[in-house]
């Protein structure tokens, strides 16, 4: 028959064994606990209903549970110890000098304090016994990768399947992403301009051909009865016409060569920005389109934009080293008298500066007053 001590010993042993031999289920998804655990007044100690919500993938709930219960029991045990000490103090108070009662009360208080000390130093004790006891971590579960299972209908014959690669779509997407819709529009516009110029060039060439055919001087084509061909004075006038047409053709070819697209840079020629004060969109509102031919107008604005960007980089506050100011770097001493300029600060206003640049351009019928125009080959 076991005595009382042995009973307590074995009960404790089995209690501890069953508590620690139980396995924790490592569920993939955490559910909200069914019990509402009380929240504890310790900083950094969350109740299970809080930490289960915030738990990260791969993180284990077990250590958090242990931490929570550790602090919960610490609090309960602390309160009990406090109660024991108070009770001991009360016994001491009512002992009325009786030595036996006083000793019992003192023992009660000492026991309470001792229990409290053991409780508070439990972490230290555990770490001293075995440091691994304070590292609360269960061995994790490895991720299971299932092999891909291909299901086929019973009795169905397996046929090879060929997939069509949407090359057209891939190329279209690649081009659109690479160049961008805006640039495609610019390219389209430039192509239309080029087409217009090419048609004009074709007409000129046709006229040139007709003139050349009809410019034989003298009776070069005769048959037995009659001769055809122009007389020499008529042919002379045609030659003058041919020369004029050739010059016109050269001009059109030159325009085709110098045509710039906004946002594109042509080495040695310049750059036309797509946005800002030096953009074609912005500058075009300052020119009167009706007085100019469509082609001339567009080229003029493009030239203006490339000169503007080259001169000031689109900064209306740009101040050059030789008293040049604003977007078109207008030379104050030169134009001060011509246009009654009062002060240099006027030229920082972009509208004023652009309008003045147009006046200067019209006065000279050329971009030559601008150094950039000469660098870029826009003016001689």
């Amino acid at each position: 028959m076991l005595n009382k001590k042995q009973k307590i010993f074995f009960f404790s042993l089995f209690f501890v064994f069953f508590i620690f031999s139980a396995n924790f289920t490592l569920a993939i998804e955490f559910r909200a606990p069914e019990i509402n655990y009380p929240s504890l007044p310790f900083p950094g100690v969350d109740s299970p209903q809080v930490f289960l919500k915030e738990i990260q993938e791969g993180e284990q709930a077990f250590p958090l549970y242990v931490k929570y219960f550790y602090y919960l029991f610490l609090m309960i045990a602390g309160l009990l110890a406090l109660g024991v000490i108070i009770y001991g103090g009360f016994l001491y108070l009512i002992s009325a000098g009786a030595p036996v009662k006083m000793v019992a009360a003192k023992e009660q208080i000492t026991g309470g304090v001792l229990g409290l000390v053991i409780l508070l130093s439990s972490y230290l004790i555990l770490a001293t016994i075995n440091p691994q006891l304070v590292i609360l971590r269960l061995p994790g579960l490895e991720k299971v990768t299932l092999p891909e299972i291909k299901l086929s209908e019973p009795g169905e014959k397996k046929l090879p399947t060929y997939f069509q690669i949407p090359l057209g779509m891939i190329i279209e997407n690649a081009v659109l992403n690479e160049i961008g819709q805006g640039k495609l529009n610019n390219a389209k516009k430039a192509a239309e301009d080029a087409r217009e110029s090419a048609e004009y060039l074709k007409n000129l060439t046709e006229e040139l051909k007709n003139l050349a055919v009809n410019s034989d001087c003298g009776l070069s084509r005769c048959n037995l009865s009659t001769c055809t061909g122009l007389s020499c004075p008529q042919a002379q006038s045609n030659i003058a016409e041919i020369t004029k047409k050739i010059e016109e053709t050269n001009e059109v070819v030159k325009e085709l060569n110098v045509s710039l697209m906004p946002g594109e840079m042509i080495p040695g020629i310049g750059f036309v920005p797509t946005g800002g004060y030096c953009s074609v969109d912005y500058l075009s509102q300052f020119w009167n389109k009706s007085n100019l031919g469509s082609l001339w107008y567009e080229n003029l604005v493009v030239d203006a934009a490339s000169v503007c960007y080259c001169e000031s980089a689109g900064n209306p506050r740009a101040v050059g080293t030789t008293d040049d100011h604003g977007l078109f770097q207008i030379h104050f001493p030169t134009w001060e008298g011509w246009w009654n300029l009062e002060k240099r600060e006027q030229l920082y206003n972009h509208e004023f500066n652009i309008n003045l640049a147009i006046k200067i351009y019209k006065r000279n019928n050329s971009w030559w007053p601008w150094v950039c125009a000469r660098i870029l080959g826009i003016a001689e």
Binding site: S12, E107, N130, Q132, P273, G275, N315, T322, H350
Partner: protein, 161 residues
């Protein structure tokens, strides 16, 4: 009384020994193992701002320019260029929603790099959003001599991503 005390101490001792014994089989883990979460919160990547939020950030403390109320000066380089003015300046042109980076010193490539880095710093490293803004880079003729920058409508730091 003394017996009770002895019993309590005995039970606690048994508990601790049992815990030490059985605990070994459950908490096997090398002591030297590093903690899993090594990244402190401070080094975590800041959330990405939207384009509008970034603009607000960049335009915070922007100064009005003498060119007019539509122009705002965001950054002026502290370093002086060859022309007694900052080596670069970054302005915002409201009507075009455009960030203009003007370079006032040579070599242009180096000054451009400095300017782009200054803008990235002001944007607090929000490179992805920064690359979505409209930008125009350039250098006036009196600095560049007519030389045109490569890719003047995008930041080089965006091309290198």
């Amino acid at each position: 009384m003394r017996k009770r005390k002895t019993t309590i101490i005995f039970i606690i001792s048994v508990l601790l020994i049992a815990l030490g014994f059985f605990g070994l089989s459950f908490f096997r883990k090398p002591i030297s193992e590093k903690p899993e979460k090594t990244l402190p919160k401070e080094t975590e990547k800041a959330p990405q701002l939207s384009v509008e939020e970034l603009k607000k950030k960049l335009l915070k403390n922007a100064k009005p320019s003498p060119a007019g109320p539509d122009d705002l000066i965001i950054i002026e380089s502290e370093k002086k260029g060859s022309y007694e003015r900052p080596s670069f300046e970054i302005t915002y042109q409201k009507p075009f929603d455009l960030f203009l980076i003007s370079l006032y010193d040579k070599p242009l490539a180096e000054v451009r790099k400095e300017a782009e880095n200054a803008l990235l710093e002001k944007a607090e490293g929000q490179l992805d959003t920064l690359c979505q803004l409209n930008v125009l880079l350039g250098s006036p003729r009196f600095v560049s001599g007519g030389e045109i920058l490569k890719n003047p409508e995008s930041l080089n730091i965006c091309l290198r991503r």
